[in-house]
């Protein structure tokens, strides 16, 4: 496809653990997935220059930033990688504005590909600028950290578990901000995650690490079907995280209609207004597939989609379906055979309204509106 943005081959040994990893990442969003202790954060720290590998090379856009044979180890401030820590690591003695400005002022004008105004706008920070950072919510902290890192116009943005420390209500918000960042700033991102749901929601490509070694790299759908990688992610908790818009409310039934891709889903009304943008979570195992229109069912949602991809691993099958957005459903191998599902074919999705969880809380306020 493209030239790799980032390629590396590194070894870092600790007592009782060693990271030996070779890979190349392309533009867009790449995830590094693995259980805790697999070396994801060590890899990220090596790339950023916060930890020096024992051996190997790291290249970004053709520039060698680390090479043990050339005895070259660019310090972090000269690598021009953005780094966002899991808990944001905002400077507690500075206001939001000073945090964002910190790296921007250290970036030469000709290297800038964005300005503070655009970032404040992109992450909806205008109302927070004068505030100190201690009173910010988890979602606000993460937005400030993203803006602060992007203000240096980094060649690659590295994120350590950007969603892990957030309450569910902020996860959807940050997912949308990250997608929007790639769209508007075109900054390649590498994020570390132990959640396959987050990987599916964000990444075009995923590298799976286990015990310091790469297991497989590819599109999330391919990787999930891989026997070694799939074993690490618990299928039953695989969630779809999808953008949706509140279309209308049915106050009498306390239900809301959400537009998702080109279908509409009814969900219990969590207190939104029409036009609100939200992110929904829907477990892959909560979706029932059917080949004919079910005539009568207690489920409130029956929508039609097109099968894009079917991936089996053992007796578990993941079916990727286009409903205007990509959605994954988990069925058994027996069900796949009975239904005769084919890639390119049509399928009905039966979804109980209560299995759709809206991740945003209405109290996130108006800032949500134009994301």
């Amino acid at each position: 496809m493209n030239q790799p943005i980032l390629s590396f081959e590194i070894t870092k040994r600790y007592p009782g653990f060693s990271l030996e990893c070779q890979a190349a990442f392309e533009s867009g969003i790449t995830a590094v997935f693995g259980p805790s202790g697999s070396g994801k954060t060590t890899l990220l720290n090596c790339l950023a220059g916060l930890v020096a590998p024992d051996e190997g090379t790291i290249e970004v856009l053709g520039e060698t930033v680390f090479s043990s044979s050339l005895r070259r180890n660019l310090p972090p401030e000269r690598r021009r990688f953005g780094y966002v820590f899991q808990d944001a690591a905002l400077f507690p003695h500075m206001s939001v504005w000073d945090n964002i400005r910190y790296g921007y002022r250290l970036t030469t004008a000709e290297r800038r590909n964005t300005d503070l105004e655009q970032l404040v706008d992109l992450f909806q920070l205008a109302d927070l600028l004068d505030r100190g950072v201690s009173g910010l919510s988890g979602g606000e902290r993460q937005r400030v950290a993203l803006a602060r890192a992007l203000a240096t116009s980094p060649r690659v943005l590295l994120l350590d578990e950007p969603l892990a420390s957030l309450d569910a209500e902020f996860q959807g918000l940050i997912v949308r901000y990250l997608r929007r960042t790639v769209r508007e700033l075109d900054t390649p991102m590498v994020f570390v995650s132990h959640s396959m749901s987050h990987v599916l929601a964000l990444a075009q490509s995923v590298l799976v690490l286990s015990d310091g070694k790469p297991v497989v790299q590819g599109r999330p759908a391919e990787v999930l079907a891989h026997p070694n990688a799939g074993a690490m992610s618990v299928y039953s908790t695989l969630e779809n995280l999808i953008d949706a818009e509140v279309a209308s409310l049915r106050a009498d039934e306390e239900m809301a209609e959400l537009r998702v891709g080109h279908v509409t889903l009814s969900v219990p009304d969590p207190g939104y207004s029409p036009g609100d943008l939200v992110t929904i979570s829907l477990r892959a195992s909560d979706i029932i597939l059917a080949v004919d229109t079910p005539s009568k069912t207690s489920a409130r949602n029956v929508v039609v989609g097109m099968i894009e991809e079917v991936r089996a691993r053992g007796t578990r099958v993941l079916v990727y379906i286009d409903i205007g957005a990509r959605i994954v459903a988990e069925i058994t191998l027996g069900a796949l055979q009975d239904l005769g599902l084919q890639e390119g074919g049509q399928v009905y999705l039966i979804i109980k309204s209560t299995s759709v969880v809206v991740l945003d809380s209405p109290s996130n306020g108006p800032r949500r509106d134009d994301v």
Binding site: A48, P76, E77, R80, F81, Y83, F85, F91, G103, L106
Partner: protein
């Protein structure tokens, strides 16, 4: 109350403190942030003057600063003057004796600054110096100031090493502590009491500021 006695005492303690500040910051940074090899040994060496009798420190300083010692000989050749039994020797003795308290407090203050904040600064384009003076020092500032004050009080009250290397010469090396000692020796209890009161007042004032800084630092963290 002899103002020149107080002035000399303050001058010696101040000189010792000013000399120690950059050194204590540098050593703390090496031990706590840079995590250099052999930092345990540095830690022991830094703390040693706390643990040995002050007269031992004074004795070694006498050997180093005396006209036959390496530093003393050099000073005599270059400046034609001795260091020992001058206020400079008293200041050096106070500096060595108060260094451990200052350095250890600064180490604690710096250690309390989350490493990830410095890493963030670096990844945002700040070199190590800029990260230190825009992130580490502002965040550790109260703890650093408290450490400096602690060192200052210790320098004010220094006695054993000072009398060994600088003697107890009125108007030249006699500090408050040494003057109290002389008065006690001479059974001038009233004079000793007067000077003791001054010395206690100085200490209380400094410690009050110190404690205020420490409480503020704790509240902030």
């Amino acid at each position: 109350m002899d103002m020149s006695l107080l002035a000399l005492t303050l001058r010696i303690a101040l000189a010792a403190t000013l000399f120690n500040i950059p050194l204590a910051l540098a050593v703390s940074w090496l031990v706590v942030k840079k995590k250099v090899r052999g930092r345990l040994i540095i830690d022991v060496v830094v703390s040693l003057p706390l643990a040995v009798p002050p007269v031992v420190v004074g004795f070694f300083l006498l050997l180093v600063l005396g006209r036959d010692g390496p530093v003393g000989a050099l000073a005599y050749r270059l400046l034609g003057t001795d260091i020992v039994f001058t206020w400079v020797a008293a200041a050096i003795a106070s500096a060595v004796m108060s260094f451990p308290l200052m350095a250890r407090s600064i180490m604690v203050a710096m250690g309390d600054v989350d490493e990830r904040l410095e890493m963030s600064a670096r990844s945002l384009g700040a070199g190590p110096w800029r990260a230190a003076y825009t992130v580490t020092i502002p965040l550790a500032y109260r703890g650093i100031a408290a450490g400096i004050l602690l060192g200052f009080v210790r320098a004010l009250s220094e006695f054993g090493a000072t009398i060994t290397v600088a003697g107890n010469i009125p108007d030249r090396t006699q500090t408050l502590a040494l003057a109290i000692f002389s008065n006690v020796q001479l059974r001038e209890d009233a004079a000793a009491m007067r000077l003791a009161a001054v010395s206690i007042a100085l200490a209380v004032a400094t410690l009050l500021v110190h404690n205020w800084l420490v409480t503020r630092a704790a509240r902030r963290g």
